[in-house]
């Protein structure tokens, strides 16, 4: 399953991700994304990542086991 992650040092709260992925991302009262555990469609996730103006959104790949 595709998981999203936010680089909080980059995110400026533009909110495009929440518009594109409204079922899995909401915004807090200051406009910063809240990621829910709802499954994300991979193509939609890629689109959201590519349009983030701050390059703050990424797809998190599960950690490789050592």
């Amino acid at each position: 399953m595709t998981r999203l992650a936010v680089d909080w040092t980059r995110c400026d709260g533009h909110g495009l991700c929440a518009r594109l992925l409204s079922e899995s991302i909401t915004l807090d009262e200051w406009g910063f994304p809240i990621l829910t555990d709802a499954p994300v469609d991979e193509d939609a996730a890629r689109t959201a990542v590519s349009v983030c103006p701050a390059l703050a959104l990424r797809i998190e790949h599960p950690a490789r086991t050592a």
């Binding site: 680089d7 909080w8 040092t9 400026d12 807090d28 009262e29 200051w30 910063f32």
Partner: protein, 404 residues
């Protein structure tokens, strides 16, 4: 309880609080023991045997960290102690610098670290004590005075600061064991961890484990403040009842510090593992009790404001959310109307959303305070100020670096 004379220091720097020990002093012993050199395998086995946990906030198993770096790794000693309520690291460095230096040398040699270990320290008397101890030992030590503040002591931020970058946490977490000083794998830990490793080498695992419960032997340094039988830095054997340190366990106690937890720790003992089972972090080892004549809501509000100001100002939820939380708690303290449900929601919303632990640690402090002081909070919220002043029991002024 033994009281050790902390000695005198130039007036520009805060005096060392009383140093106390329950039982035999180890870290605070008058003279350091001989610390034999050990190879890395010995240290990993010994630290595994005594289940040694790192003495910074995260309590990470030391053996795992030692085993995870390649030979030749650099060594970074985090002695920044940006937590205003804590004095244990400075007390250790000022009182027992030879033990600290012996521990740093032990680790650097075991790891075959080619370069001198770097010590990041904010407190000048501590830096001087370490430099003099290194001189006595004929050891090369790179002691660096830092002014990075609370969040700047987070290990990723500290590495950035040491490398000449802004002392802020990275957006994507980089472990120092993978990329630290000069971009090389680095064993980084709190300064007390190195002193504990020195004791482990000196005493051997069996000797080290002669004190404390089998599941977590040894001692820890704690800073005890407020309405407690003693105030100061205490070396305490693990397994000691919290009430023996702070006077009670049936009323509110702050455990860990400003990233810590307010709790009514009935029956709790000094043990990182046992406290974690109660969802209480030992953190920076601070234990505080508020006296009856200070307003707990105002004390908590002042600390929360300090925490919001301490933000590295990188991450939205911390910059805006933690500030909003602090303003709400301040309004509560002044018995102005506050939407308590919205405050609770804000506290939950900030948690976990940032590049470092700061928003989570800070909101944990607030959330637990709202629970433990629920009666005071309810009274203030209803517009009835308790009438008590903020006596400033919980320190929020920088206590390092002399005059600013």
């Amino acid at each position: 309880m033994t009281v050790t004379d902390p000695g005198t220091l130039p007036a520009l720097f805060p005096a060392t609080p009383p140093l106390l020990t329950l039982g035999e002093p180890r870290l605070l012993a008058a003279a350091p023991p001989a610390v034999p050199s050990r190879d890395r395998a010995w240290l990993v086995h010994a630290a595994t045997d005594v289940r040694l946990l790192g003495r910074g906030g995260a309590a990470f198993p030391v053996a795992r960290k030692l085993a995870s770096v390649p030979l030749g790794a650099r060594v970074l000693v985090n002695a920044s102690e940006g937590e205003p309520a804590s004095f244990k690291d400075r007390a250790l460095m000022r009182h027992s610098p030879d033990l600290v230096v012996a521990g740093i040398r032990l680790v650097a040699a075991a790891l075959g670290s080619g370069r001198p270990a770097v010590v990041a320290v904010e407190d000048e008397p501590s830096a001087q004590a370490l430099a003099q101890a290194a001189g006595r030992a004929g050891a090369e030590l790179d002691v660096r005075l830092t002014r990075h503040g609370f969040v700047g002591g987070e290990i990723g931020a500290l590495v950035n600061g040491m490398e000449g970058r802004a002392p802020r946490p990275d957006g994507r977490r980089v472990l120092p064991t993978e990329r630290g000083l000069a971009g090389r794998p680095t064993f980084a830990s709190n300064v007390e961890t190195f002193a504990q490793l020195a004791l482990l080498s000196a005493l051997g695992p069996a000797g080290y484990a002669a004190v404390g419960p089998a599941h977590e032997p040894g001692t820890s340094l704690t800073t005890v403040l407020g309405a407690t039988p003693v105030n100061g830095v205490v070396e305490v054997p693990h397994g000691t009842a919290l009430r023996d340190l702070v006077g009670h366990d049936d009323g509110p106690v702050l455990v860990g510090g400003y990233h810590g937890t307010w709790a009514v720790p009935t029956g709790a003992r000094v043990s990182r593992v046992e406290l974690r089972e109660r969802a209480i972090g030992w953190g920076a080892g601070v234990l505080a009790v508020l006296p009856a004549d200070t307003c707990p809501v105002a004390e908590v509000a002042r600390v929360t404001d300090w925490l919001a100001e301490a933000s590295a100002r990188q991450c939205g939820p911390c910059v805006f959310g933690l500030r909003a939380v602090a303003d709400d708690v301040q309004a509560l303290a002044q018995a102005r109307p506050v939407d308590l449900e919205r405050l609770q929601a804000r506290v939950g919303m900030v948690r976990g959303r940032g590049a470092c632990h700061h928003p989570t640690g800070a909101t944990g402090f607030v959330a637990s305070a709202l629970t433990v002081f629920a009666e005071d909070v309810a009274r203030h919220r209803a517009g009835h100020h308790c009438g008590r002043a903020d006596l400033g029991v919980l320190p929020t002024t920088h206590t390092t670096g002399g005059v600013r």
